[in-house]
Structures are given as C-alpha cells and as structure tokens.
C-alpha cells in the first residue's frame, strides 16, 4: 500500500516535471560518459603509449565529476524545494490525519529513490549507446580503425554514476525533508502569501543598470586586450567585473522594463501590460537566477567553443609526413625495410640528413666559449636587421635575441627535405647557388611564424664565412622526423654540397624516415598499420620513433581537453536551460489565480497562451542575450590568447564548424523554449474557470 502510494506520487511527479526529469536523464548520460572516458578506444590505446598522462587524467576525472555533481545538486535541490512547496498542504494533511513524521520522511525518501531509479533505467542505456558511438567515431577519426574496438561498457562507471546520482538526490531531499518535517502541520496547511510586488526605487535600479553595463564593458575590454599574457590577477579581475556586472545588470533591468511598460502601455491594448508586468516581476524576483543561468550559459558557450577549438585546431594541422624515424646504419635499416614483410607496407624510405653546423660556441655576450677546429663563421645579422624593421613587440625582441646567437645552427640537407616534401605531395625546393631556406618546427605559434614570414618576404640573408647567402622568401615547417618531441627553433635547409662542407658530421644520416603506403593505411587504419609495422622491427634491435608517439601526445591533449570541456559545457547548458525553464513554469503555477481572473474578465485562452509564450521567449532571450553577447568577447579573447589556432588551419573549416555549432545551439535553445511553451500552454488550457469555485 505504502509503495503503491509512493510509485503513484513519483509517476505524477515525473509527468508534471517532464522538463526537470529529462534534464536528470541527460545528467546521467553525461555522468556515465565522463566516468567511462578511460574505457574509450582512444584512451585505451593512449594508455599503451602515454600511460603517465592518461593516469594523470584519470586522477582528474573524479574531481571533474565532483564539480558536476555539485552543480547538479543545486538543480535537484532547487526543483525539489519547489516540488515540496507545492505539496505542502498534502503533507500538512497527512500529518493532521495522524501520519507519523518518520513515515512521511520515509515516503519522501522512497519517492526520491524510485524517481532516481527510473531516470537511471532510462538514462544508462542511452549513455551506453552514446559512449559506444563516441568511442567508434573518435577511433575512426584518429585512424585507430575499428579492429581494436571493444564494447566500452564499464561497471565502475555505471556504479559511479548510480551512486553519485542517487547520493545527490538523497542529500538534497534529506536537507529539504528535514526542514519540512520540523514544521507544525498548521504551518504546512496554511498556504503562504503571494510574493509582494517589489518596487525597486527608480534611482537604485537605474544605478544598477548603468553600473552593470559599465562593469561588463570594462570586463570585455580588459578581456580582449589584456588577457593575452594570461596573468592570474587579470583573469580574476575580468571574472569579478563580468560576474558582478551581470548581476547588477539583471538587478537593474526590472526597473528599466517597468519604465518601458509605463511608457508604452497607455497606447496598447490586449494583454500587453499584463505580459510586460509579468516579465518585470519575473526579472525583479528572479534576477539572481537569471544572472546565474546567464553566467552558466556563458561558461557553457566558452567551454564548448574551447573544446571545439582544441579539437579542430589540432586536427587540422596533422599533416603526416613521416611514420617512422629509424636510427641505425644503412645495412641494418635497409635489411629490415627491404624484407618481404615490410616492403609491401612501405611507400618509400630515405635518409634524413640533419646536423649542426660546425662553429665555435659562443656565450650570451658573444664571447667565444669553446673554439672548434675548422669552425665556420655564421651570422644572422641580415635576418636580425629585417626583424628590426618589424613593429616592436616582446616576441620580436625575443626573436632578435635568439637570432643573435652565432653558435652552430641546425642544418638540413636539400635532398632530404625534398624527399620529405615529395612524400606529402608538395613541390620540392630549388636552392640556387648561394641560397638557403629557413626551417622551424614551431608552427603552432602563429605570431612567430608571421614575424619570420614578414622578415623573409622583405628579402634577407645570412652570412657564412663572410659570404652572403640569400634566404628564400618562404618559411618551411613540415615535420622532418616522426617524433614531435624534437623541436627546432630554427634550422637552415642548405644544398647537399654546403651540408657536406658545414655540418659537423655529414656522413651519417640523423635517421631514416619511413612512410607507409596509402593502401596499407586505408586497409588497416593508420594506427593499426603503424602497430603492425612495428612488429617487423621487433627483435632487430633498431632504435626508432613512430608517428604514434608524436601524435599520441598530441591526440591525448586534444581528446582529453575537448572531451572534458565539451562535457562540462553541455552540463552547464542543460542546467542553465532547465533552471530558466523551471523558474518560468514555477512562476506561472504560482500565478494560476491571475490567469483564472483574466479568463473571468473575458480573456481568450489562446491569447493567454500567446502571452505566456511571449513571456517565455523574453525570459529566455534576456538570459541568452547577455550570455551570447558576453560569449562573443570571451571566445574572442580566448582565441587570441591561449587558444591560437595554428597556422594552416583552414578558415572555411573553422567557419563551418562554428556555424554548425551555432545552429546546434540555436536548435537546442528552440527545443527548450518549445518544451516550456508546450508545458505552459497545457497548464493554461487545463485551467477551468470553475477551479475558482474550489479556490474560495
């Protein structure tokens, strides 16, 4: 009997709170997706090559999980409180009829657990499907191939989700029902008085509005101009200004709306005044909720853009140039590579001549630190002069400093580099007599590249043994070895003859570069192809680096950063939207009598629904407007500071991705607005004028 009652109450609750209930389901899906990250194909794969980083990430996940539980807790707490408020009379009655407090408490708890179980039963299958999909899709995207796919069902993740979720619900309910069961039955039976119309004094409101706007503009300006150096103090300043600005803005907005209504309403008929006053009241009473949701949405937008930026920025520049770089003598290497097993998989291999110039070593002042026999004299003066002509920045000064060092620069032989260019289908370099080209592997820093490019375009040179060598106007930055661990701040691509003359050791290649054939890659997926090629090296004693090692690190940061931020973004978005939607619906239910009165005064049901629709749209628009506007600046400052897209990221691709995400965002918001409108219309239509009879 007790449980039947519990089940019925719980079902009624789910029906009346579809919006909140589906948010809980989304939360479960998100929780599981987060907790099962370690079981994704990509992560399992990365564990084998980047175990340190992966285990660090796995330590981070519980923290992120706790943060999300914390946010979800508020959502749950706040909805349950509203729910219990609505049922106050019911509880009062139970108590009056002699129900024991402990029984009431047990009933509430059982209802909560029952509801949690239902949402878990609904959410987990969705979560499993989703993680499976993500696992397959990312594996495919990064070229893992589907051979290594394992069903990612993870028992610890399921347990973590279930325990975390139920715990949050129980704790919220515990707090609330403790407060409720302490009350006397009479207190519960008496329905509370409706909220009074707060009339914020005009001056205070306007002040808030102006101050809020001022703070926000200040935050935008500082964010865009000064955040580049990512100074902690400035970050805090921007956050404080932005946060308080948003609160003040919403606080003052009610007065502004009231002013507008007073101005416009005499000339308008219909429900205009009512609709306006409802919105004004909502803003006045709920400005905190509005500000919090707006900030949450801003966070969501920033997180998601960050995630997408990381994912698309890293992905785009991954031109694969070399799959393996093998160290060893010619006989050893060729012996392995020319074997039957290897030959079929390889498209080409070639020696990479990379070495340092034989010069004296100099200290920072330019004094000789160590002199070498047959040393050459290198001078970057020409390039430095060109750099000096560029506008002065910290970076430029720093670059000039670095190029003043005349100690042995790195050299790359022309033939080696041309082999590399050939493998990736680029045009080879043609070095004329007395010509060299500039190389750097630091392509992720677009300002650095731009500075060098500008300098080179102005026509410049280096000097070796007092002879001028013209620098080609283009800068080259394709990876010369398979492993990204090697960074070359600068190197010179020189003719084979110059290489022979200048390099300290010109006879042995730095390594042998191997590129797998496209056919093999297409068949097996890049990762699998590399892994099976590695088997051919096993037991030969050859030292090698593979593309996976380099890409693995990169992939790890990409996957981890974008996964986590997009996860948080979606969670914030769900919470913000649910809060706005619920706030509105609660307010409408509280104002049921107003709608009844309007019906009595001859308002049309459709007009009432329309008025509610306008209120909902405006309510959402108020939150979204500020959030989206702020997010423009947040994203702007993000992409001009710590999230610079690397050179060569296709603008079209970025625009397409940004466009698709914005459309998705708009669609999600539309769905939310639609759900809320639908619920609100249903509730208005269910109002019967006769209900008033009972109200007396």
């Amino acid at each position: 009997m007790f449980f039947k009652h519990v089940r019925r109450n719980a079902a009624k609750y789910r029906k009346n709170n579809g919006l909140f209930f589906s948010s809980l389901v989304v939360a479960i899906v998100a929780f599981y997706t987060l907790l099962s990250l370690g079981d994704q194909d990509v992560m399992r794969f990365l564990k084998t090559i980047e175990s340190d980083a992966v285990s660090k990430l796995m330590l981070l996940i519980p923290a992120v999980y706790m943060i999300s539980l914390f946010f979800v807790f508020f959502l749950v707490y706040f909805t349950y409180r509203y729910q219990l408020d609505n049922r106050k009379k019911e509880f009062g009655l139970y108590l009056m009829l002699g129900m024991k407090r402990s029984t009431l408490f047990a009933m509430l708890m059982s209802e909560t657990i029952w509801n949690s179980l239902v949402s878990i039963l609904l959410g987990l299958p969705i979560a499993l499907l989703l993680t499976e999909g993500i696992s397959l899709a990312t594996a495919k995207l990064v070229g893992l191939g589907i051979i290594g796919h394992k069903i990612s069902f993870s028992i610890p993740a399921v347990l973590g989700t279930v325990i975390g979720f139920i715990a949050v619900q129980m704790i919220a309910m515990l707090f609330l029902s403790a407060a409720f069961s302490r009350k006397e039955p009479m207190e519960l039976l008496r329905s509370d008085s409706p909220e009074k119309q707060v009339s914020l004094s005009g001056k205070k409101g306007w002040l808030g509005l102006v101050l809020g706007l001022f703070f926000l503009i200040l935050a935008y300006a500082i964010g865009v101009t000064m955040l580049r150096s990512f100074d902690f103090k400035i970050v805090m300043l921007v956050l404080a200004l932005g946060g308080s600005g948003t609160f003040l803005l919403y606080h003052g907005m009610g007065v502004f709306i009231g002013h507008k209504i007073q101005q416009k309403s005499p000339a308008r008929s219909g429900l205009f005044t009512f609709t306006g006053r409802q919105i004004q009241e909502n803003v006045l009473h709920q400005y905190r909720a509005l500000a919090v949701s707006s900030l949450l949405l801003l966070m969501a937008l920033a997180c998601i853009s960050f995630g997408i930026g990381v994912a698309s920025g890293r992905g785009s520049q991954e031109t694969r140039t070399v799959d393996f770089s093998i160290e060893g003598s010619k006989q050893e290497v060729c012996g392995v590579l020319d074997s039957e097993a290897s030959k079929s998989m390889i498209s080409m291999y070639y020696p990479m001549f990379l070495g340092s110039m034989n010069t004296n070593l100099y200290d920072q002042t330019g004094a000789v630190l160590e002199s070498k026999p047959n040393a050459h004299e290198l001078s970057w003066a020409g390039l430095s002069a060109a750099l000096a002509n560029l506008p002065e920045t910290d970076l430029r000064n720093n670059m000039m400093e670095n190029f003043s060092d005349r100690s042995g620069s790195y050299l790359i032989s022309e033939t080696s580099y041309n082999n590399l260019l050939q493998t990736i289908g680029k045009k080879p370099i043609q070095l004329g007599k007395s010509q060299v080209a500039l190389y750097t592997s630091m392509k992720d820093s677009s300002d650095f590249i731009n500075n060098l490019d500008d300098a080179l375009k102005s026509g410049t040179y280096i000097e070796v043994d007092d002879r001028k060598y013209e620098l080609l106007p283009n800068i080259y930055f394709d990876n010369v070895v398979a492993d990204r661990k090697i960074t070359l701040y600068s190197a010179l691509i020189v003719s084979d003859e110059d290489f022979k003359n200048w390099a300290s050791d010109s006879s042995t290649p730095f390594c042998w570069n191997v590129l797998l054939s496209q056919k093999t890659v297409n068949e097996k997926g890049l990762m699998q192809a590399i892994l099976s090629m590695e088997q051919n090296f096993a037991g030969t004693g050859l030292e090698y680096e593979s593309y996976i090692g380099g890409i693995g690190r990169n992939l790890f940061y990409t996957v981890a950063a974008s996964y986590l931020t997009i996860y948080l973004g979606i969670l914030f978005m769900v919470i913000a939207n649910t809060v706005i939607g619920l706030k509105y619906l609660m307010q409408q239910r509280e104002n049921k009598r107003r709608y009844l009165t309007l019906l009595m005064l001859g308002a049309d049901v459709d007009d009432l629904c329309k008025s509610a629709g306008t209120q909902i749209c405006l309510f959402f628009a108020l939150v979204l407007g500020v959030a989206v506007f702020s997010s423009v600046f947040a994203i702007w400052s993000m992409f001009t500071s710590f999230l610079k897209l690397p050179v060569g990221t296709s603008l079209v691709k970025v625009i397409v991705i940004a466009g698709i995400s914005s459309i998705l965002f708009v669609m999600i918001e539309c769905i939310y607005i639609h759900i809320v409108e639908h619920t609100s219309s249903r509730e208005i239509q269910a109002l019967r004028v006769r209900d008033r009879g009972n109200a007396f």
Partner: protein
C-alpha cells in the same frame, strides 16, 4: 423603473460529481432579474449561492435549465462570444478581490477593456470618472500590495464596472472587509445602482449588506423558497433590515445563525 428583464434563470439545476459522490447543488431555480434592480441572494452555507452565481457568470455549466441574458441563451456562447460575454456583459466582484498583484490599480481597472482592444488612452476619461466615484484616484498608480483592503475592493468594483456591463455579479463582496469599509463599498454600489440604473446581483450572508438591496431571494438546499421586496418609495433601510432579520429568524428556524 423600467421593467425589462435583463436576466432570466429558468429551472436551472446543477449536480456535482457522479454516482455516490453526487451533490445536487441546485435543484431547479427560476427567477428573473429586472433592469436596474439591486438583487440580494441569501441562504445557508452550502445552499448553492456561489454555484448559482457561477452558472450565471459561465464559470460553470448548469446541468439543466437555461440562463438568458437579454434574451439570448448564454450556454450557447462559444469562443469570442463567450469571452465578450465575460468581459463586456457581466462584471464580477469577488470576495477576495482577485486583483492581479503585479499590475497597478489603473492597469487592473482597464484590464477588461484592454482585453477587448481598447487602449489605456482611450479609456482614460471613463477611468477618471469611475476612480473619483469610487474614491481611489490616489491609489491609481499603486500596486495592490500597497493598498488597503477597502481600496482593493473598490478598485475591483471599478474593474467590474468599467466595461459598462449589463449586470454586475458580486459574491460576498464585503466578506473580507471590516464594517466601515463594507459600508463605504455598499454606499458606492447603492449609488451606482440608483444613479445609473446598473443591475446588481449580490450574494451575502450579512443582513446589513442585504438591506441595501431592493429585493432579496432566499435559497435553501438549491431551491428558491422565499422572497423579500423592499418598498422602494416608503421603506427606510433600517426597517428593511429589521424585516430581513425577522425573515431569517423565521425561515431559517434553528439554522438561522448559519446564514
């Protein structure tokens, strides 16, 4: 006085619920309301007064019988016609005022007009006239939470009157007011009835309030069972009051005190 019938109630019944749960709130009530009348309706608690008023106001549908307003059957109204009837033909005064508490007095009063496409500017003149008659000019820009109970009810009365309804229905309008504020409100209603020939139907428990009426219907168990008529020309309010009290005592018998 003009003898046109504004409202005709013809053998109206109302049954709530089904089967064992059935309550027969009205068991066949018939009466007419004439133009310019101030009609009182009295009866014990649960006798069906509110039900009757709600039927007239189209808040609920009668189970059988007809209600005609100026000759047309209100149960046949649908959609716009129904909204127009509620907004223009009847004014309703509630015991609990039912003002929208996020609208100013002014906005509340002109609401019935706004709903039918009249702007605040257009209604300005009428509003001023009604406000000064109801003595609420000072509170026009206040919100309900900033007004006294009496002011609220007079604002509600202004709202009920602004659309110039054919009939004003009031369900215990003084129920939530103290005697002083009750008297002010009743005086105003009385004056409007006298000067503008406005038809008013008022449910009340209070013999004093009833004494403002020109005719009183007594209802018991969903049936009409007595009628008192004030002798308009000769009778003072005090002597009518005496008659009402006597009638209540006689008719109600032991249950007089529940009226």
């Amino acid at each position: 006085m003009n003898l046109d019938r504004v409202l005709q109630v013809e053998s109206v019944t109302k049954v709530y619920g089904k089967g064992d749960n059935k309550t027969e709130a009205l068991r066949g009530i018939s009466f007419d309301v004439l133009e310019g009348e101030f009609l009182g309706i009295m009866g014990a608690s649960g006798s069906g007064k509110t039900t009757l008023l709600n039927c007239i106001a189209t808040m609920i549908k009668p189970s059988s019988g007809r209600i005609l307003l100026k000759g047309s059957d209100i149960s046949s109204f649908r959609g716009t016609q129904l909204a127009d009837y509620r907004g223009k033909e009847i004014g309703y005064l509630f015991q609990e005022f039912e003002l929208l508490d996020n609208l100013t007095a002014r906005e509340n009063i002109i609401l019935p007009l706004s709903l039918h496409g009249v702007t605040g500017k257009q209604a300005g003149g009428e509003l001023q006239e009604l406000a000064s008659r109801m003595d609420i000019v000072d509170v026009l820009n206040k919100f309900p939470s900033q007004m006294s109970g009496g002011q609220k009810q007079r604002v509600a009365a202004a709202r009920a009157l602004i659309s110039k309804p054919s009939i004003v229905l009031a369900d215990e309008p003084t129920g939530a007011l103290d005697s002083k504020n009750s008297k002010v409100l009743l005086d105003k209603l009385y004056a409007i009835n006298k000067e503008q020939q406005k038809t008013i139907v008022m449910v009340t428990h209070d013999a004093n309030a009833a004494s403002y009426c020109s005719r009183i219907l007594f209802i018991q168990d969903g049936r009409l069972f007595h009628e008192l008529r004030k002798n308009v020309k000769t009778e003072t309010r005090d002597s009518f009051y005496e008659r009402i009290v006597t009638a209540i005592a006689q008719l109600g018998g032991g249950s007089a005190n529940v009226l």
